[in-house]
């Protein structure tokens, strides 16, 4: 829907990727676009991720705004050479002469019984790259508003689409062309006792945990990080100064995860607001298992509740 709005408004927006044309994308994200805008503006590419990212560099430096789909996050790696060495460096190394307004969309995370390599959450690799924005919506409305913002942004944006959310909820979304702000968190629920920071599909378990805690008289504030890089420190620090407790929840592996950066920001700027050590609830530092164990890998509501209880123990 956001694609359609922006393609209608801006002739330079083109959609590229594998099976994005007649098939409308494996998750139907580009359904109907080729019929509406033609095969020049909605193009199936050869089955080659480096091609998708490399041609996006060439197209974006020469007047187009490609919205590129990588079919699953597990297949982003051949494209990283182009993303790290060119897409994110172009503006800097030409001092603004050439720029890459590109959105690279891809399904993110597990939980839908997918085959091997289709369920990983490796956003931390992307967040480490200078010159790149990494965005991850947590609802249809935020997907619409943030995707519009990403397409309108003059710099490269990675847009992670949590697979569990594609069909987890049905929500009426106004197709009004209203973008949401990038680089800002969204407070999904206000509370006073503990701050829960999360993003993407883990907002589901985190909001359920908050509801469960509420039944026990614990008031949890839930923040959707939304833009994973750069991080909106202000919103997180303001919340922690109010609650005095922080639990970070993410599906990705714990080691050097985005949660570690959030913990470091709060340790540097909000340590004296804390009444208890920061807790992280994350995927294990293991290979994402095949689907019979995937719900043992993805943090559960109970793990989140228990982590919050730890922060309240003293």
């Amino acid at each position: 829907m956001a694609h359609g709005w922006e393609m209608q408004r801006d002739d330079s927006v083109v959609v590229i990727g594998q099976d994005v044309g007649a098939n409308g994308g494996v998750f139907r994200a580009t359904a109907g676009l080729q019929a509406r805008f033609g095969s020049d503006r909605v193009q199936d590419t050869p089955l080659a991720e480096a091609t998708i990212a490399g041609m996006a560099v060439g197209m974006s430096t020469h007047g187009l705004k490609p919205v590129a789909e990588i079919q699953f996050m597990g297949f982003i790696y051949p494209a990283l050479d182009q993303i790290v060495n060119h897409m994110t460096r172009m503006r800097n190394r030409t001092r603004g002469r050439l720029t890459c307004p590109v959105v690279v969309r891809m399904p993110h995370g597990g939980g839908i019984h997918a085959p091997e390599h289709h369920s990983e959450s490796t956003e931390t690799l992307l967040c480490h790259i200078p010159g790149l924005r990494v965005v991850c919506p947590s609802s249809p409305a935020r997907a619409y508003g943030l995707l519009l913002a990403a397409i309108r942004d003059p710099d490269p944006v990675i847009f992670l689409e949590p697979v569990r959310l594609y069909r987890a909820m049905r929500q009426e979304v106004a197709d009004d062309g209203q973008a949401l702000p990038l680089d800002r968190c969204f407070t999904l629920r206000e509370g006073n006792d503990v701050t829960l920071v999360t993003w993407g599909a883990m907002t589901l378990e985190t909001l359920r945990a908050a509801a469960e805690l509420d039944a026990h008289g614990i008031s949890a504030e839930v923040i959707d990080l939304a833009t994973l890089s750069p991080i909106d420190s202000e919103t997180i620090l303001a919340s922690v100064s109010k609650t005095g407790r922080l639990v970070i929840v993410h599906e990705a592996a714990r080691n050097v995860g985005v949660g570690a950066e959030i913990a470091a920001i709060v340790a540097e700027h909000g340590l004296y607001d804390l009444h208890a050590p920061i807790q992280r609830v994350a995927g294990f530092d293991t290979i994402m298992p095949l689907f019979r164990l995937e719900h043992d890998y993805i943090p559960s509501v109970q793990r989140i509740v228990d982590a919050v209880q730890l922060t309240l123990a003293d």
């Binding site: 083109v14 020049d40 503006r41 590419t45 050869p46 080659a48 480096a50 091609t51 990212a53 490399g54 041609m55 996006a56 560099v57 060439g58 197209m59 974006s60 430096t61 020469h62 007047g63 187009l64 051949p78 050479d81 182009q82 060495n85 060119h86 503006r91 800097n92 190394r93 030409t94 001092r95 603004g96 002469r97 050439l98 720029t99 200078p130 010159g131 942004d153 003059p154 710099d155 680089d183 750069p230 991080i231 420190s233 202000e234």
Partner: protein, 370 residues
């Protein structure tokens, strides 16, 4: 069994190493002044190149990849392109850049350690140097895709080296260009050596031009030391691409007369004999012989050209050596269109701790990388 597909690779040469015509004179060369112009440009590149190596040797330039021996390919390509076409260079094609209007000072600025050299006054739509091997071929294909979508009669041209043809990105670019019939031309500069690895160890293929065949696009081999043949072949390929005829792969056979870069010592892996033999077929010699035979060149003109080229290079070097050290702000100011908040703090830190400019000259040496 029956044969279901057959292919051939043509080779094109106009001027032999003795400066004699071995094929019909291309129309652009009917005006001898045009040939003089190309010869002068090739000579200026060589004078510039010699000076740049010297600057590195004396600690006044970073690692530099000499273009000695490649002048005919680089100027032939430059002369064949239109200003509105897009160049995607590797990192050695100084001749093409200079022909297209990039200044010597800008080139020195980049190789002297300042990105702003890439913010050049040449065609503003040309790509900058591309160090990650073969990745630029996809940028050229992408730019060509943009021209196709926007219905603009423009072409992209990507250079790549012989070693680069082993990279996956090269095959992907050929494949994309063929599948979508893009207005793009790929020029493989086969100079025989990928740093220390000779072509026969790089690939078992008989020619690099034939690597186009699997992508369904035409390939042709050309004498890369023959500026007539290079310009002729590239002009025709660009014209075909510009008018909807699709892409082309051109293999230009030349020789790297110098080291891979100033950090390399080619005498470690190749013989003096090989290099001596290569000097007998180098590009300037045959062009000069042709011009002398045509009555358009003599010793006095040669002396004047060398004098003027030296003066031009000296002026650029003087300008380069007087450039101020860039501000630390430049690390931050072009990262995004608008700088995110946390980077504003880092920019202030960098400013507060900025090192002083080197006491002597900018672009200090001691580079050890390739």
């Amino acid at each position: 069994m029956t044969t279901v597909a057959e292919f051939k690779i043509d080779y094109h040469q106009v001027l032999d190493p003795e400066g004699k015509l071995v094929a019909r004179l291309p129309s652009f060369a009917e005006d001898v002044n045009e040939v003089v112009k190309m010869y002068e440009a090739m000579t200026r590149v060589r004078v510039f190149d010699t000076k740049a190596v010297n600057l590195q040797r004396t600690g006044q330039l970073g690692t530099y990849p000499p273009s000695l021996g490649h002048e005919a390919t680089h100027i032939g390509v430059g002369a064949a392109m239109q200003p509105e076409d897009v160049l995607a260079p590797v990192y050695r094609e100084f001749g093409t850049q200079l022909w297209r209007g990039v200044t010597m000072t800008e080139i020195l600025k980049y190789w002297g350690g300042d990105e702003s050299g890439n913010d050049f006054s040449g065609p503003r739509h040309d790509f900058a140097w591309c160090v990650p091997i073969a990745t630029q071929t996809l940028h050229a294909a992408g730019a060509a895709m943009a021209f196709k979508v926007k219905r603009e009669p423009r072409c992209a041209l990507a250079y790549i080296g012989d070693g680069g043809t082993s990279e996956g990105a090269f095959y992907e670019a050929l494949n994309l260009a063929g599948a979508r019939k893009l207005p793009v031309v790929f020029v493989v500069v086969n100079n025989g050596w990928a740093i220390s690895v000779p072509l026969k160890e790089q690939t078992a293929t008989q020619t690099l031009a034939q690597k186009s065949i699997a992508a369904g696009i035409p390939g042709i081999q050309v004498d890369g030391n023959d500026v007539f043949a290079v310009r002729d072949v590239v002009s025709r390929a660009l014209e075909t691409a510009r008018t909807g005829g699709g892409p082309c792969l051109i293999e230009a056979l030349t020789y790297r007369l110098s080291d891979h870069t100033t950090a390399d010592d080619a005498s470690r892996y190749r013989s003096d004999d090989e290099v001596r033999t290569a000097w007998t077929t180098e590009p300037l010699l045959r062009t000069r012989k042709y011009l002398v035979n045509a009555g358009a060149w003599d010793d006095a003109k040669e002396a004047a050209l060398l004098h003027d080229a030296a003066a031009l290079v000296e002026a650029a070097v003087t300008e380069y050596l007087h450039l101020a050290k860039p501000s630390t702000d430049t690390m931050f100011d072009h990262l995004f269109a608008a700088l995110p908040t946390h980077l504003q703090a880092q920019r202030a830190t960098a400013r507060a701790y900025a090192t002083k400019p080197a006491p002597s000259k900018p672009g200090a040496s001691k580079h050890s990388g390739s």
